[in-house]
Subunit: 356 residues, 4 copies
């Protein structure tokens, strides 16, 4: 209930602060006797970690995961899988001015209002460093689901006003070969130039991530409040800086007529179009599931900003510390991880009740 | 877990099918000794009910709510509040052709895939008639929260391609005086004309609802997975035909720079702008919370459509039955109700832990 | 969280007061396409209902269950199954004196302390009439589990100081042929005489129920906090008037040595003895699961008692109304029902993760 | 759902195996800004730890707790509190023979049936070493509740057939001054002699713990399925080796008449007797809450035993390793910890809804 657990059958309880001893998590409900690929987990963490390219924050963390339980002889035992990633490269001194100032559009004021305290060192619990735990758990979920031929793929579709061309099928190599994870080469170049330009100005950029899930059987999701798209929306809006979610035709679908929007069924129960985004009545229909998530420009600027301190006195906040100008490329593995956590929960449930 | 319960401290368990005996629900965790205004509940149901104007389906249901428990001498007792709304005006014969055909972009195929059966009479459990239960529970939540000066207001901002002018503060009277619940008079007229035109064609229309929540104290919401916007997104995407959710700056915020997007704090901890949509770090900051929800055109057309039956054979589906051409005006009280269910849960939790 | 829901995958949300419109419940997560035997459900209700013999309260309720949803053409659809049992034979006037007095050892004072009100008419929500909902849901669970050859059998082992002989295998017919549900004929007769004697005195009697569950596969239950015995204990202690629970060797096992208590394994993994009560490490081992539940003498006497009213003034409570002298025989189907609700939840989970 | 989380508002997720890297847990929902007494936590761990006296196992673990998150400047922040206790003194080689044998009355066979594997090194997840996490979380709950004048006190009432005299009020010093935590000096001596005698024989002993909770306000607990005694029963039966639970009059209450059992109210709403054990209708009435928990003799013997291996072949299990002859004295702080976890959850909920 306190917000740090996601999932019911396959659940992740996350813990840790940006400048505390460690970030970590506990996965409960993981199927037993599954042989984990630890390199794969580390590879996903590397996609998220800071310092991976000049387009990301220079905080330098190896982000090596250490497993404490739930694994015996390389296989899951069915017991809870606890893991930690130690925090190493902390520059807490950078945050001294923050011990009294509330940073604009950060969680400082709201955490203080809620808890009567806030951890001014890098955002504490509100830091996006917390998403490390999601990537670890998501990577395990992806490994299990890939044996069922269910795959997740996200990429950057927009940064600032630079947009990739209309969606088409890209290889993972194509996406990952772009430092900003945009498979449209032309847009990718423009995005890098834009990041360089905005870095100069000490400002920040938002963007949009497109995610697709292939291979889901028909029947995942629950009716009414437990609709598949409702859980995906929750999962995505729980990511730091996410502001919007749309699946299938999304906002644009509003302007279509029903006769244009309806997905006509083929004799094999596939559909001729996929405005539904692979979900009808809250339940997967076997088509590709796809959605888009919008991220605001992050609030930590390398510019001076006016703000107030705890007493409500006006203070100037200097632009210090090491921050991403645009987090969107690093959010790609996080979007995939959260999608995988949603799907594995429904998939475990589906296995149990499935009529097949 | 099976998807029919929403909320943790103040929870609604919903039941019933479109053409079954009744739609109903059980509210658990409602504060005790609260004097209910039953007229207010019925008034909210009237805003949702079919047949309220020529712009809505002509299925004629009084939708009168009957309470079975949890209320003694007009006050809540703290025990679960069960209620039913009997189904009366059912034309099940209209659905005979559906007992073998899967309607395009409906839940017929996916329910069949999941459950091995589906209720072809008006969509059964997947019917939007289920939202009656949400409106009853939401109305009770709104009554409790209004004593705390927390208010909910939604209206129609777009139907098809007809858009209301930029958001401003409207009175509820202004919104409700429009048959399509659009307070921009000019747009409202155009929307009505559009609905008439599309009705002639036997087609359907989508739209966008804007919702604002005023009066929330700073401190509602949970960190990480339990962010206020994440629960709102889940709540909204759980409504039939909803395709997208954005709060605060939403998709448009992607194109702002951080220096444009940041909401600078005033000495009283209010903010000069509100791109954050009243939520920072997943927790309310005391500003107005606002968001938008997109609805697709509904899938039931008054046109013939090609589809397949359970055996995968091609069949023609005739356009029959009584359906809304555009559900968006009737979805306004549903959006408010779901928002109220989200807020009351966080508000109860806030009361418990609040430092004040 | 508010206490009216039991179970996770197969859940029952119960509602209703003794003297309200109806008692009812909503079952969510019931497997779909299961053909229900409605006579069987009514038969279970008849085992619980008042007025079934001279040894039970003479409140005369047919207790006929009416299903509102979740069933189509006699089969479960997978949607929530809502049901009500209307209250008919209410003598609310009997309770007038209670509107100010707190009955000793009832929930009057504690409900008033918790909710600021209490329903003095027959105990309201605290009445054992609420267990009707448990019997309906339990009966459905039992039907589903009986197809898997899992069976539940409870009987009365003690009333007051009259004890049945040591446990042995009894037929259901033998148990049900005793008006007090005690299969030991000699003890059964003594129990009936005791009830008659205590009825004369306007007093009440407690007792002990023995319950066994046969046919469970090895592997039901969860480790640590979710142990099978922990959920059974919770289920049993949630029944009105239950004071104690023991499984396997129970309290008596304390006096054995480990070498006497250990259940030695046979080559087919069955055990030579069953002090473990069919559960080891919180998980079923395939042997018979058995436990005992103690019930106090109910608190409603046909004698005058001294008590206090809401203002703390001393008042005399007259012995009025229609009450059981000993509820234990009627609690037999309730114990079975709660056991079935525990087992079906674990069984559904087991199906999902089972290695077989 | 997978069994490793306890509590809803104040929850503990536990992880770790006996011979893995560490035992640990994550506490979520702890009130913020609470100043922790770390010595107190360690002191509670010392009450539970092995090697504390000659009457406990000689496995020598300092059991020092290390906090990873949720604490800043000595106070709780409201973020999840993660902690680990490293495993140091492991003699895994002692368990080599177990890699194929199922120990009688252990979890080996049932874990294997459930998970397709089992951790033969000291019981793995099924080891009572897991209860360390409960003691840490319980100690924090006790600290918070002690500020509200709610106190927990447990002691050993019986070991084997040696019983302490009838319950009376003991000081904590009196209890803790006995190496077997039995405040009746005469019984304490007999218990120590009995343990010595049974140690010689390589056998083991069970026992009974009495626990009382003082200072609870009236109003803790939920009706129906969430009764306070139901949650206490679940909590106690989740402890390794626990076989039975009774509260208030318990099994003995069965033999009283209602007129003897009823607790008559005083003008200040206290009761003249307390057969109810401080709970009526599932909700605390402000009187002392008390209950008893029975523990079986543990299954690890220092004798040879016959058993079978995974293939069902008969094997002889040698009595090796370091085990308690009687765990009951060490279970005293665990019983208190679990009671505290139950009460804090209800107390947080009570604060939220309380009418006062």
């Amino acid at each position: 209930m306190a917000g740090n657990t996601f999932g019911k059958l396959f659940s992740l309880t996350s813990f840790g602060e940006s400048h505390g001893a460690a970030i970590g998590g506990v996965i409960d409900g993981c199927p037993s006797n599954f042989e984990l690929d630890f390199n794969q987990i580390q590879m996903e963490l590397n996609r998220r970690r800071p310092g991976q390219s000049v387009y990301t924050t220079q905080r330098n963390e190896a982000d090596e995961v250490e497993f404490l339980s739930g694994i015996f002889n390389g296989k899951t035992t069915g017991a809870p899988i606890a893991f930690i990633i130690k925090n190493i490269d902390q520059h807490s001194a950078d945050y001294d001015q923050l011990s009294t100032a509330f940073r604009p559009s950060h969680a400082d004021f709201t955490y203080h209002a809620k808890y009567g305290n806030y951890d001014y060192r890098g955002g504490g619990r509100a830091s996006a460093r917390e998403t490390i735990a999601r990537v670890v758990a998501g990577s395990i979920a992806k490994q299990i689901l890939s044996k069922e031929n269910i795959y997740f793929q996200a990429y950057v579709q927009q940064i600032g006003r630079v947009k990739a061309e209309k969606h088409s099928n890209y290889t993972t190599e194509k996406i990952e070969s772009s430092p900003v994870r945009c498979p449209d080469e032309d847009a990718s170049k423009k995005m890098m130039l834009l990041i360089e330009e905005i870095t100069e100005k000490g400002d920040t950029l938002g963007g949009i991530i497109y995610c697709s899930i292939k291979g889901c059987p028909a029947g995942l999701g629950e009716p009414v409040f437990g609709k598949l798209q409702a859980e995906l929306a929750k999962a995505m809006l729980s990511i730091n800086a996410a502001k919007a979610f749309e699946y299938g035709s999304g906002f644009a679908g509003v302007e279509l007529l029903g006769s244009e929007h309806n997905d006509i069924l083929n004799p094999d129960f596939s559909t001729k179009t996929n405005h539904s985004g692979g979900i009808q009545g809250g339940i997967s229909n076997g088509e590709e599931i796809y959605f888009r998530v919008a991220f605001k420009p992050i609030a930590s600027l390398m510019q001076n900003q006016q703000t107030v301190n705890k007493e409500g006195h006006s203070v100037t906040l200097e632009g210090k510390g090491r921050h991403d100008v645009c987090v969107v490329p690093r959010a790609v593995p996080i979007v995939e991880a959260m999608a995988a956590l949603v799907i594995i929960d429904f998939w475990l449930r589906w296995k149990m009740y499935s009529k097949k």
